[in-house]
Symmetry: C2
């Protein structure tokens, strides 16, 4: 049985795991911000909105496909509406439709190639096919709720 505390080796694995995600995410976020003026979360919202929803979507559905809770999305949308990237308008009285604006669409179109290039440069092109396969398998394993 393992000791109560993490061994040096376990600690190294843990730190490696943490750093891996943080650094890559940060770099891609910076590329996005510098080249397209969009943050990571903003890019996520806009791309789902444009992709799955043809530009218009119920807030609920958007939250589900992002894996976010409603509060997080509501705050994010408030900020993005302030920047003019999306619009909210109530259809029926109790559900809200989120719509990508012309500016949002334009910014997204601009950001997509930047994002693709950054993901390839900072992640995909650095790894072998087997390493990538392991990443995907590990992600599925760790994503299970037990």
């Amino acid at each position: 049985m393992p000791s109560e505390l993490l061994s040096p080796h376990e600690l190294r694995v843990w730190h490696a795991f943490r750093l891996m995600g943080e650094e890559v995410l940060a770099r891609i976020g910076q590329d996005l911000t510098e080249a397209a003026g969009l943050s990571g979360p903003e890019f996520g919202v806009l791309s789902r909105l444009a992709g799955l929803g043809q530009g218009e979507m119920r807030q609920q559905a958007l939250a589900d496909c992002l894996g976010w809770d409603k509060s997080r999305l509501s705050h994010q949308l408030t900020r993005m509406a302030g920047r003019g990237l999306i619009k909210r308008h109530a259809s029926d009285k109790r559900l809200v439709l989120v719509q990508i604006t012309r500016l949002g669409r334009k910014t997204l179109d601009n950001a997509m190639p930047v994002h693709a290039e950054s993901v390839r440069r900072n992640l995909l092109s650095r790894l072998t096919a087997e390493q990538i396969a392991t990443i995907v398998r590990v992600s599925n394993i760790l994503g299970d709720d037990d």
Copy 2:
């Protein structure tokens, strides 16, 4: 040459990569908070402080070994001082010593086994030795600045 945009497969890899880190980090952070009343960042600060510094350390050194910038650490320490987990006191006139308090030490001692158990349950024990080795190798590759 790859198309300008990410292919469905590339997209799957990217999403898998993002989720992997976020979910595990979130779970461990929750375990820590619920069982020991400490957030992830707070745990990081306290454990470095107790480990490398015997409880007392220059702010600079602490930032370096956390991989944080001075501003981030300053904000974090302000909050933690407010909670009574650490104390700041100027030694010489221009550098600040950070010291873990009795409460900080006690909370950390309480949190360490919780942290170890959570890291094992949410990460280490779910993966094979080869998968763990790949993670560490991949982390080193992705950590390089190019």
